[in-house]
């Protein structure tokens, strides 16, 4: 099993390459949407990864409040930062797919879209809160409580499409399982694994950078 960061990064790059080849060349063309359906292979994995990152950020925030270990503050912050990056990508790729398939960049009548935007903006405001407070235990606790509140929006956003009726946004994962053929589902799974691994590598890289930054700051204070 690969554990080192360079090894994981190389594996993630290779898997991303494979996912793109499968999505753009190997996967069969959708009879209904045509070539524009190929955005599905990148848009849905990115959206699921954004949810996962926000969820991870909330979990780390809970651990901080529970155990009081300060390292969880940085881990929660980095996870939420990754979530906003993948959230922005979800909105961008979703808008492009919407324009190609429905003829609109955005539809305010779509609950799924509006709820995802709300979730995204909620976590964007997390950074405003965090950087408006002085560094220390108070900032860590306030940020953790805010991150925990946001996690409530994740199941709401995820289930909105299943609870509402008459939507344009398609539902492919129902109680009866994935509504797609075997090859399309396999391509989707490879894409999902690739995007999740990419997010994990970026999370580890950013976390390592932040920790080195903190250590250097402490070292500088010792010298002064």
């Amino acid at each position: 099993m690969i554990r080192s960061l360079p090894g994981l990064a190389a594996f993630a790059a290779g898997l991303m390459g494979l996912a793109v080849v499968l999505a753009l060349i190997v996967a069969p063309e959708d009879a209904d949407q045509g070539i524009s359906q190929r955005v599905f292979y990148i848009h849905v994995p990115i959206a699921l990864t954004a949810y996962f990152c926000f969820g991870l950020g909330a979990w780390k925030a809970l651990l901080l409040l529970w155990r009081g270990d300060e390292r969880y503050d940085l881990e929660s912050y980095v996870a939420i930062h990754q979530g906003t990056i993948f959230g922005a990508l979800t909105l961008i790729t979703g808008s492009i797919w919407a324009k190609a398939s429905w003829g609109h960049w955005w539809l305010w009548s779509e609950n799924q879209l509006v709820l995802f935007l709300t979730l995204f903006l909620f976590y964007c405001a997390y950074f405003m809160l965090r950087f408006s407070l002085e560094e220390g235990p108070r900032r860590a606790r306030s940020s953790a409580v805010y991150a925990l509140f946001g996690v409530v929006l994740i199941p709401v956003s995820f289930l909105a499409i299943r609870l509402a009726e008459g939507l344009i946004h398609p539902t492919v994962f129902t109680r009866g399982g994935p509504q797609m053929s075997g090859s399309i589902f396999a391509t989707f799974c490879v894409g999902w694994a690739a995007v999740t691994l990419l997010a994990y590598v970026l999370y580890r890289v950013e976390l390592a950078g932040k920790r080195v930054d903190t250590d250097l700051r402490e070292l500088r204070e010792l010298f002064e």
Binding site: I85, W97, G209
Partner: protein, 64 residues
């Protein structure tokens, strides 16, 4: 725009954003490298000063 161009735009946007992220991380790495070098320089300067004048070195805590 054709549907194929929209698909290319979606994948291109992901690629560009990840590339921008990597560029930001690389810029940060360069800054950390510069700061580490400055701290190393400072540590070497202090070590050299301590060799020249041992009295100027950081005093060890004394027992009262």
């Amino acid at each position: 725009m054709t549907q194929g161009q929209y698909v290319a735009a979606a994948y291109g946007a992901v690629f560009v954003l990840v590339l921008v992220y990597v560029a930001i991380i690389a810029a940060k790495l360069v800054r950390l490298q510069r700061e580490t070098a400055a701290l190393l320089e400072l540590a070497r300067g202090r070590e050299a000063a301590a060799r020249r004048d041992p009295a100027s070195a950081v005093e060890a805590p004394t027992e009262s």
